[in-house]
Structures are given as structure tokens and as C-alpha cells.
Symmetry: C2
Subunit: 279 residues, 2 copies
């Protein structure tokens, strides 16, 4: 891996199928305040969770190609589905570091569980890939992993029904079979799901640890930058000399902006729309 000539003042590229990855970007902002971010949300082709590996790998390659035009020093796949389906393929092709959200999420669940019974919820494609299961077994083969796809959670979050009785009934159906397995930890394996955290908490009770891979991903990114000598040495200027966070989408920039401003600790001023199919 050639990183000698990489400018440590370059940005971190972060991408997702849409808005969900902003929960990961937010953790990077909080935990690595010196780092600049270029975020891309693939709002023209969202959702990824019901699509195939071949398609998601092609989308990830196009997005990485775009992010490289923005001079990034490392890339975070802030989408569980793309991490599960595309990370293995695209990291072979890259000469800068790239991480996903699955391994960090798996690690924190492994350290959280006491009874070695972990539940994972995610999109259909993430669950069908069994990537959480695989990475958890690599850490500790004595753990049993129970997986459940929850395809209605993303549309319910996007409809804004975060604390609704309908959402609660849907959650109860999805989660009941995991609860019967006596899990003590539950990985929120889609970036939309932390927005349902309080509703999920009501259903699973206080004894189950809810694992949000976003925080752990930011931490792993920090360790990676340190190890590779890629940390940005500059203190964040106040006010900043240049915009430290830049946002790109493939469609619906305005709607993205509304959602982003409800998640991020500050208001985004500009969001650029690009044609991702050209990359």
C-alpha cells in the first residue's frame, strides 16, 4: 500500500446508499474533529438492501472512483449492505485504506456479549450475506449468531414514523424470534436503525446491549489513520478556512439536506448533485 506521498490533510471519503451513513459521518465529526469529510449519498439508486452483490460492487466502484476525484486519503463504507457485499472486492483494487462498518460492529458485539448469543438485524442483502456471522466467528467461534432481515424498518424511518404504534408492531414481529433465542446483544446492522433505538429498546428491554457500529467505526478509523501516519495535524480553525465537510448526492439534494440537518450537529449549506453513472 503506497501512502508515503498521501497528503494527510486530504479528506476522508464516506459513502452510503443515502442518508443513513450520516450517522457514521456524525461519529467521525465528533471523535476525529481534525478530519475533513467528503460524503456521498447514492440517493438516485437507494435502497441497496434488496439488491445483488454484482450490482452493489458496481455501484461501490463508481462511488470510489468519484471520491478519488475529490482527493481522499481513506474511505469509509458507511453502509452495512455495501460493507457486507462490496468491501472484499473493492479493497483489493485500492491503494488507500478502506474500512466498512461490519467488522467494527462485530468486534464490539463480541466484547459486549456475556452469554455468547448475539442477534443481528439488517437489510435482506446484509443478512443473506452472513457477513456479521462470519466476522463474529472469526473473533470467537464459540458464539452463536441469530440473524433477522427487517426490510420494513428503512421505509418506516424514511416515512418518519420513528415512535409510531405501527412501527412498534412491525418491530415486535421482527424481534420476537430473536428474543426467544435469549440473545444478550443486538447489532443494529443498518445505519437507519439507530434512529429506531428507543422503540427497539422498549421491545427488547433493558438487559440487551444494543450495538451501533457507527461509533466503533469512527474509533477504528482513528486507529487506522494513526497507524498509517495519515492523521490531519491541523487544529480545526474557528471559523474554518475552507469547508471541512462537503456533501454530494446522486438525486434529491434538497430532501437530503432536510434529513441531514436533523441528524448532524450543524446545518449543511451546500449539497452538490452529480451523475454517479458517469464515474
Amino acid at each position: 500500500m503506497e501512502t508515503n506521498h498521501m497528503d494527510c490533510r486530504a479528506s476522508i471519503g464516506v459513502f452510503d446508499s443515502g442518508v443513513g451513513g450520516l450517522t457514521v459521518a456524525r461519529e467521525i465529526m465528533r471523535n476525529l474533529p481534525k478530519e475533513h469529510i467528503v460524503y456521498f449519498g447514492d440517493t438516485a439508486r437507494v435502497p441497496y438492501g434488496s439488491k445483488s452483490k454484482v450490482t452493489i460492487v458496481r455501484y461501490a466502484r463508481q462511488i470510489i472512483h468519484f471520491l478519488r476525484t475529490q482527493d481522499v486519503k481513506a474511505i469509509v463504507i458507511a453502509c452495512n449492505t455495501a460493507s457486507a457485499l462490496a468491501l472484499d472486492e473493492v479493497e483489493k483494487e485500492l491503494d488507500i485504506p478502506i474500512i466498512g462498518v461490519i467488522r467494527p460492529g462485530a468486534r464490539v458485539a463480541v466484547s459486549a456479549t456475556r452469554n455468547r448469543r448475539i442477534g443481528v438485524i439488517g437489510t435482506e442483502s446484509t443478512i443473506n450475506s452472513h457477513m456479521y456471522q462470519k466476522l463474529i466467528y472469526e473473533e470467537d467461534p464459540a458464539i452463536t449468531v441469530y440473524e433477522k432481515a427487517c426490510p420494513l424498518f428503512c421505509p418506516l424511518v424514511e416515512e418518519g414514523w420513528l415512535k409510531d404504534s405501527v412501527t412498534k408492531e412491525v418491530a415486535r414481529r421482527y424481534l420476537d424470534e430473536l428474543l426467544e433465542k435469549d440473545i444478550d446483544s443486538l447489532i443494529l446492522g443498518c445505519t437507519h436503525y439507530p434512529l429506531l433505538r428507543s422503540l427497539i429498546r422498549e421491545i427488547v428491554g433493558e438487559k440487551i446491549t444494543l450495538v451501533n457500529p457507527a461509533y466503533e467505526t469512527a474509533k477504528e478509523l482513528g486507529e487506522l489513520l494513526k497507524r498509517e501516519g495519515l492523521e490531519n495535524p491541523d487544529e480545526p480553525a474557528d471559523p474554518p478556512a475552507t469547508e471541512p465537510y462537503r456533501f454530494f448526492v446522486s438525486d434529491m439534494a434538497e430532501k437530503f439536506g432536510h434529513f441531514a440537518n436533523s441528524i448532524l450537529p450543524y446545518d449543511i449549506e451546500t449539497i452538490q448533485k452529480i451523475n454517479i453513472e458517469e464515474y
Copy 2:
């Protein structure tokens, strides 16, 4: 429009964002049994209902470009969102006839209503386009149109919860405000919604006419072919000499096949996957 040299034995191109347009293809099969069909479902970029006009027009152009490589004599946009957002743009660029599902649906609703109060349900993008409203006013300006986006209906249909209590509660919330307006006709303005017909019927009661644009679209296609001298003169062979119905998707061919076989009156044998971004 040059159609003189067009081969009337060529196929009808039918496209949709995914599987929903099969309900339109089914009506064409039933009502125009001599016609051959090339169907394309854009399963790699589904759903269209939350995306912008610019994006949907670009997708429609690519798909039409692909369908032309399959030698089609006419095109049906079997997707309400693409009909609402892209038909006006793409029909200017074409030298073969193209129709959508909105105008046929609007016409049948206009002839069905007695009290001149029509409800329309559809995706966010279809409803925001106000295309049903516009075309109904063109037919009869004395009609009042009440519109309501139902973004959770498609994911609920795709989850297979067609007669579920959750779906019924969601439908009640979406439909209540239309029922308060004393509508006597309701357009099912998304190709997924006819699959919820019996559940919607339970909520709206027996007095409201449910309008499914699929049947009327097949009828309008038949009239168009006749007018343009494009009807296929051959009787359907039994067994057919060549496959009369051909299916293409941009992703998830196997899943598409399962769904198709549950909707169509016969089992599909082959579904080809293509990279639509190359067109």
C-alpha cells in the same frame, strides 16, 4: 411519425421500475393475445417513487434505448411514476408510439365518478407531479381531485403482507383523509396497489369504485395499434414458434421470476439480466 416501414409483427416494449408493471403486461396478454411483449424491470434502481424528474427521465431514456435494440413497434410505460415524470419528455424524442398508465387511469375515473369527487393514491413522486389531477381536469374541469401519497404500500407489498393487520392499519391512516372528502372513485395510482385491492376494499367499503389503470391501458394500446396499422395479424401459434414474451431486468433475476410467476398466468422460463447503465 414514421410508422410505414414498421414491422407489425414486432413486439410491444413494456417497462417498469420493477415487478409492478407485470400487472399491466398481464392485461396486455389477456386483451391483446396476438401481441408479443418485451418486458424490462429496472430492479437495480427500484423504487422510482421517491426520486426526481431529472433522474427518472434519464432512466426512462436508457430503458427506451435498450427496448429499441429489441425491435419494438410501440412502448408502454407500465409505471405510474415514470408515466407522470418522464412520458412528456421522452415522447417528443421518439418515432414510435408510446403511452403511459396515467391518462387511461384518469379517463376511466372520469367516466366512473357520479359526484365528481375522485381520490388518487400513488408514490410520493407521482402525487407530487399532480399529473392525475391535471389530466382529469383536462377531461372535466368540474371534478375535484384529492391526492394522497402512500409510500409504505410498496414495501408492504414487497414484504408480502397483503392481508396483514399492519398493512390494514397503514391503509386506514392513508385513506381516512380521502374518505372524509366523500370521494366515490379511487385511482390505484401505482402498479403495486392492485395487489392490495381486497384490503383497500375492506377499508373504503362497497360504494367507492376502485380504478386500476392497467386494464384501460391495455385497451388504449389496442386502439392505438389499430389506428396506426400496427396490429399483429398472426394468430398466436400453439405451441408458439418463438417465445412471445421476453423478460429483462437490471438485477435480481431469480427474485423477479418468483414474483412474476405468482402474477402471470404462465411460468416464465428465462429472464435475462442486463446492465442498463450502458444504454
